[in-house]
Symmetry: C2
Subunit: 464 residues, 2 copies
């Protein structure tokens, strides 16, 4: 059957009031990009206010075979919310309410369009905490976070988004509504469907309600910013701390090449110079939890630091902690100084191979003359590898390097994405990563949930 976009557009004004959809060029344009460099202009932007709006629209799209893409705040790095063919984009900007907090059970029910930062802020009033913290959390939505399985610095201790989703209401491709699990803390009756949707990037169903587990707000926290004169030592230091039984809430690594860019960045420079002039790497090590526990762990880490003769800054009080984290946030803008062409991945490896992986990256950097940055969530083995150059002619080399890196990651038992998902930009990698059995099951699952392929077509699937 053919895509009947015209029919769909005819039916929309009959079924929905004017403010629920738009064909205007401006609105369509505003929904045509995300944090990747891709572009995809929708034919229609739809603004549901209720689950019923979504089911009605999806049933129409199903009948007319019109593709649907879902959009939270458009912060994905992979293009996953952008249509590459005539399609409807559903914007969840009007489904942005916190529905219910159950304090005793520590369960929060929200709509997909709520900003994750708003959830954190709301919970703080009740001394509760939703830990996942992708860099974008202040301006990305929980629906988008669930769709990508978002992570963040605090995930080594607390786990990623998938560890906090108890249940979902999902509109299926044919417009039926699936409740993925009972809203209880435990269940063992049905097949556990919730996690299939977490990280599915819009390809299996559309969320209309998200039930989250939340935890008590940690009583106190302490942040170390440590300087290393040899970059590998920062990675070894993490292992030292963890092996001792300490679970840092964050262990963020800044590698040599990234540090070069960061040191030239005004907002970060002064703090970094306090640590020393000839540093190769930084480590943000955050400890959190009950006050006395943090105090003891801080003492232990200081002992380790002294042992190794490492310089550090540290604080357990709020404005200071934030100002240290500010250095971390300067990484992305500072990288632009290394060159105008930048490709970014978020590979993840078993952490034990971190040092080996870093040496491999440095070899590639030396051979290629392309900047290779590898900062990020070293506690999880999740590195944001950025390849940067100013030399237009080296674009092809960059793509070659990317492939080499992914192949190395896979040979170490790693994965092409730790938290950003695949979207369009990492599909080649997915085809390297999956074996025949995995590809077969991925395809069959997709077919089961989306028989006509109308949900985010082209996203995440392996091309043949």
């Amino acid at each position: 059957m053919e895509v009947q976009l015209k029919e769909l557009k005819k039916r929309l004004p009959q079924l929905f009031s004017r403010e629920k959809f738009s064909f205007s060029e401006e609105v369509r344009y505003a929904h045509s990009f995300d944090a990747s460099r891709l572009r995809g202009v929708p034919e229609v932007v739809f603004f549901p206010e209720t689950e019923e709006d979504v089911t009605k629209l999806v049933k129409l799209c199903f009948n007319y075979r019109v593709p649907i893409f879902c959009r939270g705040a458009g912060t994905a790095t992979t293009g996953s919310s952008l249509p590459m063919m005539p399609a409807v984009v559903i914007s969840f900007s009007k489904m942005n309410r916190i529905l219910e907090l159950n304090q005793e059970e520590r369960v929060l029910r929200v709509q997909p369009g709520v900003l994750t930062g708003k959830i954190k802020e709301y919970l703080r009033k009740y001394q509760l905490f939703y830990p996942p913290d992708p860099a974008s959390y202040k301006y990305s939505t929980i629906g988008g976070n669930v769709a990508t399985g978002a992570g963040g610095p605090r995930c080594f201790k607390y786990g990623t988004t998938r560890d906090y989703v108890l249940a979902l209401r999902v509109v299926l491709a044919d417009g039926r509504v699936l409740k993925t699990a009972p809203y209880t803390l435990k269940h063992s009756a049905y097949y556990n469907l919730t996690p299939i949707f977490v990280g599915s990037e819009g390809t299996l169903g559309i969320f209309t309600e998200i039930v989250l587990k939340v935890v008590p707000l940690p009583e106190s926290s302490y942040l170390f910013l440590v300087g290393f004169s040899k970059e590998e030592d920062a990675l070894t230091f993490i292992n030292r701390v963890i092996k001792f039984g300490i679970t840092p809430s964050a262990a963020e690594f800044v590698d040599k090449t990234t540090l070069k860019a960061l040191s030239s960045f005004e907002e970060a420079r002064d703090l970094i110079y306090q640590l020393g002039r000839n540093l190769e790497a930084l480590l943000f090590l955050e400890l959190d939890g009950e006050e006395e526990k943090v105090r003891k762990e801080v003492a232990k880490v200081k002992e380790f630091l002294k042992e190794k003769g490492l310089s550090y800054l540290g604080s357990g009080v709020e404005p200071e902690i934030e100002s240290l984290w500010e250095v971390r946030r300067c990484i992305s803008p500072s990288l632009r100084r290394l060159g105008s062409f930048k490709v970014s991945d978020d590979v993840t490896i078993p952490r034990r191979y971190s040092e080996e992986f870093l040496r491999f990256l440095r070899r590639l950097e030396g051979e290629s003359g392309i900047f290779v940055c590898a900062f990020g969530h070293a506690g999880d083995g999740n590195f944001h590898v950025n390849l940067i150059t100013d030399d237009e002619k080296k674009r092809a080399t960059v793509e070659e390097l990317r492939k080499k890196i992914i192949k190395q990651v896979l040979s170490l038992g790693g994965t092409s994405s730790g938290e950003h998902g695949i979207g369009y930009t990492k599909k080649t990698f997915l085809s390297f990563e999956l074996d025949e059995v995995q590809k077969d099951l991925m395809k069959k699952l997709k077919k089961l949930f989306d028989p006509y392929g109308i949900l985010s077509p082209g996203v995440k699937v392996v091309d043949e």
Copy 2:
């Protein structure tokens, strides 16, 4: 196609050495029961030593359409490992090795036949901890725990088995091997297949390797055993503690009817009498973690106890803690004193309805003259409801009561199983619990993974 059991039995001695399979009556009999009262005698018992043994067998079974049931230690309460038709039972007793501990990443790789208690013991040497603790953990296997999504007292704080399985190697119905996820701490590349298998009760695939996340061993713990003169007060007390921000590692409830049985049990009686003579309920409240944190929480709980004038026993040192837990372990044997006919379920409700649910159960008990016990993991809203009578004529009434209870549970937004799974014994409930969309997807998923229905046929699926 027909089941060709004869052909299979002919092929086995050609393909496998003698110690890997058995047709003997004794061996078959030994594999014909579990902790339910069901019986199911297999035609063949197979004892694989490697994944290759499993794939070879499963390919044969697939070709000859012979049903396969998997068996760990046979402690399921639902009959899920028992064939109700000519079938092969795979016993994992020889695939019982701990394969690899990665201390830095806190990842443990094991074979399915390892006893969960052995895993706990092994990890303790490294100051590490695998938290899920079903009552059977000393003699049940990790493979069985994963297959049922097992829980236990410590799951309120630590989560259930599903929160600890990072990845699985699974032999599919056609004998192909699926690796469900990369062996990394984070991943967002493929559809997250691991959790579909956790709690699938052998109906979707056969585990040959299990990768577990483990956590640091808590530094200290403290156990309270509190007596209540009104049973509902015990449930309210849990809310009080949690709302204050304390997360007990266990909150185990002993209701009025259960306490009656327990108080007449020699091994438990003396301790209970120390708490008072006219008690209606007990609460086991365990706190664990860093020493100072536990000390503070213990002080706070003692304050709450004093406020309410409640009597309690408490200890933070090991042999004493164990002797208090011993009372909890006396529950099951003591219940037999209430009557010879006993039906047990493990319903779970949103905890906020616990008091209301308990009142409902007492009404049923009063009307029916059947003992209604409701002890268990009250922190999770997970109650082990046991219906007990000595009156043979009341069996039908018991079944009626069960249905009424499940319907009440479902109307409160609960589920028929928190941790035991469905097996055969709770299939009727599953058909009450699932709506049409859920039933449809359950069936389609089953069909996708097991097109000829050879994996544990009859288990967990909804009958039409």
